[in-house]
Every structure is written in structure tokens, then in C-alpha cells.
């Protein structure tokens, strides 16, 4: 049983997250270890297992990038690992530029404005890649899935940049 089936949901990238949350809570209500605090140790152990699985399933489906990754896994698309060399030179160049942009934020005259601007740049580029991945996942051919997996990898770079920007923001606020 895959995670979509576990939640009784159609295997689509654009899923109803509201409903996902509802089903999740319903499932946890029936298997969470708290429901078995007074049951036999056998049932307690099973409850921990099932509840863990449902938590994992929920996490995999809730976050869009994780959901994409999970869908590609069940479709059998080979995922290049993170350390594998990236062939897209254009993309790598752009990443270096963006890193430089983040490094310069703290020297800006107006730090708030610089952070705002950097956030905008990251979000616009993220959105673009995200939309193509969305379309490719819907297409669901071997070729489209391959392209989606490459886009997913790029999106993860943006996610990391975003985290770094967050950290930078925290740091600047704290001093």
C-alpha cells in the first residue's frame, strides 16, 4: 500500500491538503499509542509502528517537495544523489551569483530592503521551477518524470538558499 492509498487519496501532485490533514487526524485517532496506553504490550508495540508509519506518510505528502520526491520514487524514477556532479552549468553559475547576493546582504546600506529583495529573487525563480515540475509530474511519462526529478533537485538548492537567508536574517536581528 503506498502513502496515497493509505490516506485514501488519488495519486496526484496537487492534492487537497485540507483533506489530507483531516484523514491524518482520523487515522491517528485510531492507531496512536495513547489509544493503547492500557492495552497489551503487543498492541502497544503495533500502535507505535502504525502510528510512526502514518506520521511518516503524512510528512511525505504534506510538504510539496517531499511529495514530489515520494511520487518520483513510487514511479521508479532514478533520483541522482545530492553529491552527484551537476551538468547544468548555467544553473550552477546562477547559484554562485545567488550565493554572492546573500553574502553581500549584510554589507547593504538598507539591510531590511536587501533581505526583502533577495527573498523576492529567490521566490520568483523557485516559483518558475516549481511550475514546470508540477506540469511534468502531471504528464507522468518517463521523460517528464526525469525532467521533474532534475527540477526537484534544483528546487532543493533554492530551499537551501532560503534557509540560509532565514539564518542570516536571524543573525542580523539578534545583534
Amino acid at each position: 500500500m503506498n502513502y496515497f492509498q493509505l490516506f485514501g487519496l488519488e495519486e496526484k501532485f496537487n492534492l487537497d491538503t485540507e483533506r489530507l490533514a483531516q484523514v491524518y487526524q482520523k487515522l491517528q485517532r485510531s492507531v496512536h499509542p495513547d489509544r493503547f496506553a492500557h492495552a497489551s504490550s503487543q498492541e502497544q508495540m503495533l500502535a507505535v509502528q502504525k502510528s510512526s508509519m502514518i506520521n511518516d506518510a503524512y510528512q511525505s505528502l504534506k510538504n510539496p517537495l517531499k511529495r514530489a520526491e515520494y511520487m518520483l520514487t513510487i514511479r521508479g524514477t532514478e533520483m541522482p544523489n545530492e553529491q552527484a556532479s551537476f551538468k547544468d552549468n548555467m544553473f550552477l553559475m546562477r547559484q554562485m551569483e545567488l550565493r554572492e547576493m546573500l553574502a553581500e546582504v549584510k554589507f547593504a546600506d538598507d539591510i531590511d530592503a536587501a533581505i526583502f529583495e533577495a527573498t523576492q529573487v529567490l521566490e520568483i525563480e523557485f516559483e518558475g521551477l516549481f511550475k514546470s515540475m508540477q506540469t511534468q509530474l502531471a504528464e507522468n511519462t518517463e521523460e517528464a518524470n526525469q525532467l521533474a526529478s532534475e527540477n526537484l533537485r534544483k528546487l532543493k538548492f533554492y530551499q537551501k538558499l532560503h534557509l540560509e537567508l532565514d539564518r542570516l536574517e536571524d543573525l542580523l536581528f539578534e545583534t
Partner: protein, 620 residues
């Protein structure tokens, strides 16, 4: 003790008697016990009418004092009177000494197992906490009139694995059956949430004596889903006291180190000043110096607030980060719950109100709200409220990972993941022909091993020699609903396995606990045996009842033969449980467990199916 009733197999065991269960708030400064009595959660009082028990233990020649009686010795006998043991529990010596350099205790023991030297010998912080828990347990049993089925014990959300495990050990030592370790902010939300029936995002700001926690939760139809939690496990009201004490030392022109008794006097005066300044504009401080002279000083509210401003700002920064982790903003927050005695400080209330742009909830006594929430949860877990819709979905506060080459940490489970959770990750060998692998388990957010908390080390041996990178070592992390971790490692091609309940490297191992229990009993041998027999009999009764009620509702999932096997195992167990044969009871419990394995699995799957089908009916 009331004897547990066992029904004839095949017969229903209803009606259930009310099971005695309590919630315990094991605090840094004060502890409380509460229980649900005729539908209402209330704190339980000691014989003298007080419900707050100071978390202080004093080791005297002829007796061990706990609470107010121990507090009386705090100044005159500081080395033997342990206050705030919660700040020491599950921590390394280096950790303690860096954080609290002026503690009046003498430490001994090794780096990972610090102990305190008292006139009663070496005492582990776990033992100190267990004395507090024992006192509360006796109080509860006296006031409820029977033996407890179990207790929910609260811990700061920010407690790491070692601190949680040590708390559970302390409970075990005190003879308490832990139904669940519950995060303090979640407990507070339970206490309020059920009262007000709110739905939406709420923030729980918990500033206790020694810890600060901030939790962001989403409430929906009785489900409390913790979205994120953050804070500082070493920041609390005691730090306000320290700030005042440091200021006084400076004003009085004193030079540290001071005598333990003067240090204790300083912190107690500082604490009193803090409390007075919650309602007064200034207060008078009088110290008796080592040369017998008196020193007086007037401390204004303004000075006090300037002393603690930085600490309060530190808590708000944690709030900001945690909101971000929860992916909500302060505008989404519909309610702010205040917990912990330190939230009585007016500056704290003022700053929290301006940060969340709304006045925080303070209607339940901030010192009692945690114990009350824990009691409500205990009542449900004990099975007294089978129809309750309430469910708590908590998270792990700090990421868990493994050391990899170069002293780096690879995260296996990231913080704010809902528990229980199980995650596996594969690693490989670094050298050709490598036959063993050291697994070093860490907790924390930083990337370098040295900046994280080391939880445990163990080795996977007998890996068949292969080329570097050819072995596939699968390491599995399992975190249960108490937030406790278990790690196992397996080489996939050969099935060589090693596993560990993350325990020995910090805190106590099973043997040590057993020894402590033994030491604490006068007639060790008989008592231990009696205790073990009783434990098995209670467990047998629990198993029989659990299986019986499972049969009552889901007998249909079994064939006649399967049913017969279970029923016969059950009636044998009922017979054996009447005897004194501890080992036989244990064996028969295992037989019942084996016989019901498939049944339990089917029941679980059937309830998942029911939950799902209910869902599609809603949709139609």
C-alpha cells in the same frame, strides 16, 4: 491495595472501576501532583493543606527531607541540600559547570555520570528527583485512597533524550508507572484547550524556574497538533535571580568565590526580591556578610527590569524562530497561554503581549496549569474516558543524527517531526576491508559533532571485509511517543545486527536502577522478590483485561480455532497469576502475547479501514 478483579474468560469485565492516575509536574523550583476527581482536575494537597512541593531534597544524618522541611536547611547546610536538581538531571559535568559555576555542591563521578557528594554518600541527580516523585506519589495515594495505575510526568519540551530518559528513570526509582512523558507546554494547552473549546493556532509561552519553552500548536476538534517547539533548556526565572545576585555582589563590593551559605543567601534574597517586585515598586535587601556585618540595599523595579531585559528579549527571539519553524506568523495566533511562575513578572507579560499583539491568557494559575493538563491526560490514558476525542500529537524538539567522516553530523530525524517516528538511513564503510563501524548518536542542530549533544556510542562488528563503500549499513532510529530514542544498525548483505536503547552513555543503566531500588529497601531480598511478583501479577491482570476487551469488541475477526487458542492461553494465565511463581507468570504473559499477535494486527488494520471508510462517507 485493592485486589484487581479478573473476570471469567469470555465474560465482559465492564463496568470498569475508576483507575487512579495522576499528572505530575516535576518542576525545577516546585512540583505538584494533580488528578481528575469526579470529572474535574484538581491539585492534590499534602496533610498540611499545601499543594506546592518545593523541589528540594536535604540529606540529613537520620533522614532524607523533601519540600519545605528540606528548604529550611538550604542556607545552613547547602552541600547536603539539593535544590533545582532538574537543572542537573541527564547533563554532563562539563555542561553543569559551564552553566552554573557557583553551585554549592561537591561533584564526583565521571564526566557523563556526575554525582553529588553528600553526608549520605554519593547521590545521583536522578535519585534526588526520585525523592521528590516518591513524596508526591505517597501524597497522591494517601489522598486518593489507593494504589496508582500510573502517572503522566511532564518535562520541558526542550529536554533532550538524556534528560527525558533520566526523568523516566527517576519515576521508575520512585515506583511510578509512567503512562507518558508529556511536554509541559502541551499539558498547559490541554488544561486551557478543553476549557475554552478554541480552534486555531495557539502559542504556549512557558517560563519556569530553569527552562524556557515556546510551543506553537494547532487545535482542531480535540486534536492538539504541535507544529513546532523551541526554547532554551537552561534559561528561566532562576536566571533572573542570578542576574539580581550578580548585581548585589557588585553593589556590595564582594569578591567571588563566596561561602556556599552566602551564595545560597544571595539567591534566596534575589528570588524574594523578584517576587516582591511583581507587585511593588521597590524592595529592601539585607545580607548578613561573612564577617557578621549586615549590608542593606534598596532595589527598584526599574533596576530589576533593566537587569532582566536581555533575558526576556532572548525568549522573544526564540518565539520568532519557532513561529517560523511552524510556518505561521504571529498574526495567525489566536491565543497565547502563559505557563510557569516566572510569567508573573510584569515585564514578561508586557513584552509577550506586545510581541503577540494580544493580552496572554492567565486565568489558570500558571504554577498549576501544567499539573492540571497532565492529570487530564493521565485520566484518559488510564482508560477512564474511553469516549474521549482528545489526542495529543507532539514533536521531537531537537534533531537526531549520526557522526560521519570528518566530525560532521548527518541528521536522520529533524526537529519538529511528529512522534512516534521511525527513520532509516544507509551508510557505508570508509576503508577497504573495514569490519567494524562505530555508531555515534547525537542530538542537536549544529553540523559539527562537538557542538551537539552526544547521546550514545555503540559498535557494529563482524561486517564481512569488502571494498570501501561496498557495505550497506542500515541505521534505524525509532522515537516513541515519550520522545525516547532507540537505535539499531544492520549490515544488509549479511544481516549482522547491533542495537541499543540509547541509554548507557548518559544517565543510568538497568542494573544501576535495580541496585538503587534494592538499596532503598530495608529487607532487600524479600522486598525485591515481592515487588517483582506483584509487578508480574499487575501486568497479567492488565493483559487479561486488555485482551478480554479486545475480544468483546472484535471477536468476529477470529476463526473459532484461533479464538479457542487465545481463550485457553488467557485462562491459563488467570490461573498462574494466582500463584507466587513470578517466572511462570512472565512466561504465560509471553504465551498470550504470541497467541494474540495476529489478532492485534488484524484489529489495528480494521480500525484503519474503519477510519478511512468513515472519511469517504463524510465526503459523499
Amino acid at each position: 491495595m485493592a485486589l484487581l478483579q479478573i473476570a471469567e474468560p469470555g465474560q465482559s469485565t465492564v463496568p470498569h472501576e475508576h483507575r487512579l492516575a495522576v499528572g505530575i509536574d516535576l518542576g525545577t523550583t516546585n512540583s505538584l501532583v494533580a488528578s481528575v476527581l469526579s470529572g474535574e482536575a484538581t491539585t492534590l494537597k499534602a496533610a498540611d493543606g499545601s499543594d506546592v512541593l518545593p523541589s528540594i531534597v536535604s540529606y540529613q544524618n537520620d533522614e532524607t527531607l523533601v519540600g519545605d522541611a528540606a528548604k529550611a536547611h538550604a542556607i545552613t547546610d547547602p552541600e547536603n541540600t539539593i535544590v533545582s536538581a532538574k537543572r542537573l538531571i541527564g547533563r554532563s559535568l562539563a555542561d553543569i559547570q559551564a552553566k552554573y559555576p557557583s553551585l554549592p555542591y561537591q561533584f564526583c563521578g565521571d564526566e557523563n555520570h556526575p554525582e553529588l557528594v553528600t553526608r549520605k554518600g554519593k547521590i545521583n541527580p536522578v535519585q534526588v528527583s526520585s525523592e521528590v516523585l516518591s513524596t508526591l506519589r505517597s501524597r497522591a495515594e494517601a489522598s486518593l485512597g489507593g494504589e496508582l495505575v500510573g502517572a503522566v510526568i511532564t518535562v520541558p519540551a526542550y529536554f533532550d533524550d538524556a534528560q527525558r530518559q533520566s526523568t523516566k528513570d527517576a519515576a521508575k526509582l520512585a515506583g511510578l508507572n509512567v503512562l507518558r512523558l508529556l511536554n509541559e507546554p502541551t499539558a498547559a494547552a490541554v488544561a486551557y484547550g478543553l476549557d475554552s473549546g478554541k480552534e486555531g493556532v495557539i502559542a504556549v509561552y512557558d517560563l519556569g524556574g530553569g527552562t524556557f519553552d515556546i510551543s506553537i500548536l494547532r487545535l482542531n476538534k480535540g486534536v492538539f497538533e504541535v507544529l513546532a517547539t523551541g526554547g532554551d533548556s537552561a534559561l528561566g526565572g532562576d536566571d533572573f535571580d542570578l542576574a539580581i545576585a550578580d548585581y548585589l555582589v557588585e553593589q556590595a563590593g564582594l569578591n567571588r568565590p563566596l561561602s556556599p551559605s552566602l551564595e545560597r543567601q544571595l539567591t534566596m534574597q534575589a528570588c524574594q526580591a523578584k517576587e516582591t517586585l511583581s507587585s511593588a515598586e521597590s524592595c529592601e535587601i539585607t545580607l548578613e556578610l561573612e564577617d557578621g556585618k549586615k549590608w542593606q540595599h534598596e532595589l527598584s523595579k526599574e533596576t530589576f527590569e533593566s537587569l532582566i531585559q536581555k533575558l526576556v528579549a532572548q525568549t522573544l527571539r526564540a518565539c520568532r524562530r519557532t513561529l517560523k519553524d511552524a510556518e505561521v506568523t504571529s498574526d495567525d495566533v489566536i491565543e497565547v497561554v502563559m505557563v510557569g511562575g516566572s510569567t508573573r513578572v510584569p515585564l514578561v507579560r508586557k513584552e509577550v503581549e506586545s510581541f503577540f499583539k494580544q493580552p496572554p491568557l492567565t486565568s489558570i494559575d500558571p504554577d498549576k496549569v501544567v499539573a492540571i493538563g497532565a492529570a487530564i491526560q493521565a485520566d484518559i490514558l488510564a482508560g477512564n474516558k474511553p469516549d474521549s476525542e482528545m489526542l495529543l500529537l507532539d514533536v521531537i524538539p531537537l534533531s537526531l543524527g549520526l557522526e560521519t567522516m570528518g566530525g560532521l553530523v548527518e541528521k536522520v530525524i529533524s526537529r519538529n517531526t511528529t512522534i512516534p517516528v521511525a527513520k532509516a538511513q544507509e551508510f557505508t564503510t570508509f576503508k577497504d576491508g573495514q569490519t567494524a563501524m562505530a555508531i555515534h548518536v547525537l542530538q542537536g542542530e549544529r553540523e559539527l559533532v562537538d557542538a551537539c549533544r552526544s547521546l550514545a556510542r555503540f559498535e557494529l562488528r563482524n561486517i564481512p571485509p569488502m571494498a570501501a563503500g561496498a557495505a550497506h549499513i542500515r541505521v534505524t532510529f525509532k522515537v516513541d511517543a515519550d520522545g525516547l530514542l532507540e537505535v539499531s544498525a544492520m549490515e544488509k548483505s549479511t544481516g549482522v545486527e547491533a542495537s541499543i536503547e540509547v541509554k548507557p552513555s548518559f544517565g543510568l543503566d538497568e542494573g544501576q536502577i535495580a541496585n538503587m531500588i534494592k538499596d532503598s529497601m530495608a529487607n532487600a531480598k524479600e522486598d525485591i522478590q515481592a515487588r517483582m511478583l506483584k509487578e508480574q501479577q499487575v501486568e497479567a491482570a492488565r493483559v487479561i483485561e486488555a485482551v478480554q476487551s479486545a475480544l468483546d469488541s472484535d471477536k468476529a475477526l477470529l476463526s473459532n480455532e484461533e479464538l479457542a487458542v487465545i481463550e485457553s492461553a488467557l485462562s491459563t494465565l488467570a490461573e498462574v497469576a494466582k500463584t507466587n511463581a513470578t517466572d511462570d507468570i512472565e512466561k504465560q504473559i509471553e504465551v498470550v502475547n504470541q497467541a494474540t499477535a495476529t489478532f492485534a494486527e488484524r484489529r489495528m488494520d480494521s480500525s484503519i479501514r474503519t477510519a478511512l471508510s468513515g472519511q469517504s462517507v463524510d465526503k459523499v
